[in-house]
């Protein structure tokens, strides 16, 4: 059975189930079935879509993280499950797309479902975040279509399997498309919407957008554009490297000043987009694909985990700012620990996935000879500890405010444990990810 059909069908059926518990069970079963199908070698199964062990590993990770997300959701998020299944289906297709046409179509599919996802608006703040994303996304889609048009006009085939151009117009067309995609990856100067949207929409949605959608897009883009990037000369590589530097530095500096935890995480997400761009610039290195895959895997676990913990904290204890966080470690040691581990992984402490991810991606840069880029990236990652440790400082090193204890549903906790497992597993055992390419 096709992976795509399974998830897509599940998404179509899911609105019919009104009972939340049943719906969750149904969604989990669909994901489980998909996982089984995946292990049997099933893919999207359409023309212009193809699976490789590289893609298969990440598809499995997306399914696992989706399962954790579904476990986390509660009654109010009825629609989110459907949308999540749609996103999972579209993500599989996006990851497996092999031609520019199938890539752009599935990319737009993911975008549209993202808009639907954030349209679940409950207050004005969320409306603002959703509107920003919508307008920025519409503009980006326009840019991509413009590039696609130019590509066609200059006499190229949408369906050519390996993307390679030798004329100037084709090259410019591909650049335009790439820049349009960078909007979704929150690369400077397309990052502006993200800081607001991630911080303003519900944290669950922010987890889906900033973790799943971003990593899937990054990986799929890399897959499609790698031949094109590799064929380019040095100069555009410098351009990518410069964008990476600006994006990560901006994200890290801006995160430092924030009081709202969601906003810190939003800027941290932008900084990580900068790190993800390193393998793009370091395309000449054989470590680049591994580096990006590792960042994607590590990031999808830790980023979704921090936003989901934040959602629990906000719902139960009204925690929004750093000050609200004070003394969490004393009253709620379990959730404090879950939060801390993932934050440390984001900061890149060894034996957590975030560390090896950065190490491999940075090493790819070294391998490609991009020394200054890597120096700045390392400095960035060192300075970023400032705000991650600052959050943890509030959790553990400050006197507790009068605050309740999180009762926490068991399933949400289970979801967190899955994500924690991912962060630790891929931090200790790196062989899986290195294995898929050899």
């Amino acid at each position: 059975m096709s992976l795509f059909a399974l998830l897509f069908g599940g998404a179509l059926v899911s609105p019919l189930i009104k009972n939340m518990a049943l719906l969750k069970l149904f969604a989990l079963l669909i994901l489980l079935w998909s996982g089984y199908a995946l292990s049997q070698g099933a893919g999207v199964g359409l023309v212009f879509f193809e699976q490789s062990s590289y893609v298969r590993l990440f598809e499995a990770v997306v399914l696992i993280v989706s399962a954790a997300l579904i476990l986390h959701l509660d009654k109010e998020d009825h629609g989110t499950i459907t949308q999540l299944l749609f996103i999972a289906a579209a993500s599989m297709a996006l990851l497996e797309s092999t031609t520019l046409l199938s890539f752009v179509i599935t990319f737009e599919a993911v975008s549209i479902i993202s808009f639907v996802l954030v349209s679940n608006i409950k207050d004005a703040t969320q409306a603002e975040g959703a509107i920003k994303m919508f307008f920025a996304g519409a503009l980006a889609s326009g840019i991509i279509l413009f590039g696609l048009g130019l590509f066609a006009v200059s006499g190229h085939d949408f369906n050519a399997s390996a993307l390679s151009v030798d004329d100037t117009f084709g090259m410019i067309a591909l650049f335009i498309i790439l820049i349009g995609i960078f909007y979704k990856l929150t690369i400077f100067p397309m990052h502006t919407w993200a800081a607001d949207t991630y911080a303003q929409v519900s944290h669950t949605n922010a987890a889906i957008l900033s973790a799943i959608v971003k990593t899937v897009v990054a990986l799929a883009t890399f897959k499609i554009f790698m031949p094109f990037l590799a064929q380019l000369g040095e100069m555009p590589i410098y351009l990518l490297a410069a964008l990476a530097v600006i994006t990560m530095t901006l994200g890290n500096i801006l995160a430092l000043y924030q009081k709202s935890i969601a906003r810190i995480l939003a800027y941290s997400s932008i900084a990580h987009a900068g790190y993800m761009l390193i393998p793009f610039a370091a395309v000449a290195s054989t470590y680049a694909p591994t580096g990006l895959l590792y960042i994607a895997v590590a990031y999808i676990f830790m980023q979704s985990a921090v936003f989901l913990v934040l959602e629990i904290l906000r719902k139960e204890l009204e925690i929004k700012t750093l000050d609200d966080l004070k003394g969490l470690g004393q009253k709620n040691p379990l959730y404090a620990l879950l939060f801390t581990v993932q934050l440390f992984s984001l900061a890149g402490i060894p034996l957590l996935a975030g560390f090896i991810a950065k190490a491999v991606a940075f090493y790819a840069g070294v391998d490609a000879g991009l020394w200054p880029l890597i120096m700045i990236a390392l400095l960035n990652s060192a300075l970023s500890v400032g705000y991650y440790a600052w959050i943890v400082k509030h959790i553990y090193f400050d006197e507790a405010q009068t605050k309740g204890v999180i009762t926490g549903r068991f399933t949400a906790l289970l979801g967190q444990l899955i994500l924690l497992g991912g962060t630790i597993y891929f931090g200790v055992i790196a062989a899986d990810i290195f294995g898929v390419l050899s």
Partner: protein
């Protein structure tokens, strides 16, 4: 069989840490203290067994626990090695940490976070063991970060103190910045040798380009500078004294701060190839030695005085390591660990007796109330000053000989003066705290001696502070299996050097006794400019605050408020409100608009496209040249 002891030595502290963590949130349970100490003792015994196995001519023990990363030509296992160097380090680490654990049972007696403390402390020991036992640079780095993390937790342990959390973060961030230097060094090693295993790397290094080796050496040393708090990254160590005193004794005197020295010793095949870098390390070490010693001269915080002394002694070790006398550095590292930890633990006793008062000027005459603490601290100070026949004499004297032997007379002279300063400030502290009038009585303190078993716990260190130097010849014989021997060319002047050095040390002690026998000096001294410079630590912390911390914070604020919020970013309050009806109009800092945001995206697009087009056409070589110079990426 020996492998079992290796695992036991390594994992017993981890087991202790996990056990204590189970009860982390609950109030004090004596058991956690006893069990973690017991496990630490197990680790100590295993280390001793491994050490004596090597001593009796056993083979180097090498195990590979599991594979960490493996693909194609990349292979990094979790591997551990017990050779002469790591065995010595294991002995130092486990001895001091066992003593500190037992001591802390008494010291942390009334603390709410008793169990938590032991969990952190044991976790630290585990990380430190990983650091010294790893057989590759990746494992070393994991331990390196691990000790940094535990140090952060422990400095900030008393989180109700604002200064403590600040100091913890300072230490953490400064170390992370230095660590990136080390990471670059590790990248370079892997890039050029294709491996991170010590044996493979060191076999490969001689065939590398000398410039590459120089870069590797420098970057690794940047990491060492952070951990060992060498100038200009030294400020965190003095501030780290905000942590509980057992922590200062274990982490910030005996073990973690010596990790940098350990790294240079471990990487000796690399540093042997680049004597110029070695000389730079030695020069920096000599500078730090005298620089830190001067700051210790006037300080009025007991723990900070000892911390500066630690800095200064680390400088000594780097002189030895930099000049190629690796075993001498290791020897001093070991001797220093014992007497410095003892000094800190003694200071902890005094702090307890004086209700956490740290200013020795407010003490005086404590010898009556705290006889044994006085004896042990004096012993440690004599050892530190380098008086025959205590540990410091042998190890410090060797370092001076190394400097003299290489004809580095400036280094020698610096260290020689520092030896005098060391003796002086050590005895200034002793005289102010334990002798003279009981100035504390007027301030209403009622000092008392520490618990009996606390004193007993300290006694092994006191013994070691005396005898550790006596086994110099055996140690040389043992350690030079692995480390290169150092050729001394000083036999003809050896006795003269020893006498000259001992003279200045004795001179320092006598001066301190004479000056401070009647209590502190008059206030007049504090008016002098040189006093002001020293008490303000050469104004370096203020400089950092003014030129690094503040501007960075300011940049963040300005970028966000003035740039990102006003120009780049924008809000759609208007549209959102229209759609949603009502809105939070009062929310501040949302005063842009959507159109400006979109305009920015388009402008950005155009700029990037122009650049891309310029590159693609490649029409203008000058543009390309200019951009590549500019970006230099």
């Amino acid at each position: 069989m020996m492998e079992m002891y290796l695992y036991l030595a390594l994992f017993a502290p981890l087991a202790g840490s996990l056990f204590a963590a189970l009860f982390g949130a609950s109030p004090k349970t004596l058991w956690t203290g006893l069990i973690t100490s017991g496990l630490l003792f197990t680790s100590f015994v295993s280390s001793v067994i491994l050490f004596s196995y090597l001593l009796s001519g056993g083979e180097v023990i090498h195990v590979e626990m599991m594979t960490w990363m493996a693909t194609g030509n990349l292979y990094i296992p979790f591997g551990f090695v017990v050779d002469e160097v790591s065995a010595t380090m294991m002995i130092v680490v486990t001895t001091v940490s066992t003593v500190v654990h037992v001591y802390a049972i008494g010291y942390m007696d009334h603390d709410k976070g008793f169990n938590r403390f032991f969990s952190y402390l044991s976790a630290f020991v585990f990380s430190m063991m990983v650091l010294v036992m790893s057989d590759n640079f990746a494992g070393l780095f994991i331990g390196w970060e691990g000790v940094g993390l535990c140090s952060w937790l422990l400095i900030g342990f008393w989180y109700h103190k604002e200064t403590a959390t600040w100091a913890a973060n300072e230490a953490f961030i400064m170390n992370r910045i230095a660590d990136l230097g080390m990471l670059i060094g590790i990248f370079l090693i892997y890039w050029n040798t294709g491996s991170l295993q010590y044996d493979k790397v060191f076999a490969e290094v001689p065939y590398l380009d000398i410039d590459t080796v120089t870069m590797i050496g420098i970057f690794l040393f940047v990491g060492a500078m952070g951990k060992s708090a060498q100038f200009p990254l030294h400020t965190w160590l003095a501030d780290a004294m905000e942590g509980p005193t057992p922590v200062s004794a274990l982490i910030h005197a005996a073990t973690m701060v010596t990790a940098g020295v350990y790294l240079v010793i471990r990487a000796n095949p690399i540093y042997d190839l680049i004597p110029d870098v070695g000389y730079m390390i030695a020069s920096l070490g000599a500078f730090v030695a005298i620089f830190a010693a001067t700051m210790a001269l006037v300080n009025r915080d007991m723990k900070r005085i000892i911390a500066y002394s630690t800095l200064s002694q680390l400088g000594y070790m780097f002189v030895a390591a930099g000049l190629g006398a690796y075993w001498v550095a290791l020897f001093h590292l070991m001797a220093h660990a014992f007497f410095k930890a003892l000094l800190f633990l003694g200071a902890g006793n005094v702090m307890h007796a004086m209700d956490d008062e740290l200013d020795p000027v407010k003490m005086g005459g404590l010898r009556h109330a705290m006889k044994w603490t006085m004896v042990m601290m004096t012993l440690a100070s004599v050892a530190l000053a380098g008086i025959y026949p205590l540990a410091g004499f042998f190890s410090k004297d060797k370092i001076l000989e190394v400097a003299f032997s290489g004809d580095h007379y400036i280094l020698w002279g610096t260290l020689w003066v520092t030896a005098g300063l060391t003796a002086f400030y050590s005895f200034r502290l002793i005289m102010l705290a334990f002798f003279g009038e009981k100035r504390h009585e007027a301030l209403g303190f009622h000092p008392h001696e520490a618990y009996k078993y606390v004193l007993w716990a300290m006694s092994p260190l006191a013994v070691l502070a005396v005898i550790a130097g006596w086994f110099e010849h055996e140690f040389v014989h043992f350690i030079t299996h692995l480390l290169p021997n150092f050729e001394f060319h000083t036999h003809h002047v050896e006795m003269i050097l020893i006498i000259v050095t001992s003279m200045i040390a004795l001179g320092g002690i006598i001066t301190a006794i004479m000056l401070y026998k009647n209590g502190p000096l008059s206030k007049k001294w504090e008016e002098r400019p040189c006093y002001k410079v020293l008490i303000n630590q050469y104004f370096i912390p203020q400089f950092y605050e003014e030129f690094f911390t503040k501007p960075y914070r300011e940049l963040s604020r300005v970028l966000w408020k003035e740039v990102d919020m006003k120009i780049v970013d924008a809000s759609v309050d208007g549209i959102a409100n229209t759609i949603y009806g009502t809105g939070e109009k009062t929310r501040h800092m949302q005063d842009g608009n959507l159109s400006s945001m979109l305009r920015w995206m388009v402008i950005g697009l155009l700029i990037l496209l122009t650049l891309a087009a310029a590159f693609s056409f490649g029409t203008s070589d000058t543009v390309q040249q200019a951009l590549s110079d500019l970006g230099a990426i």
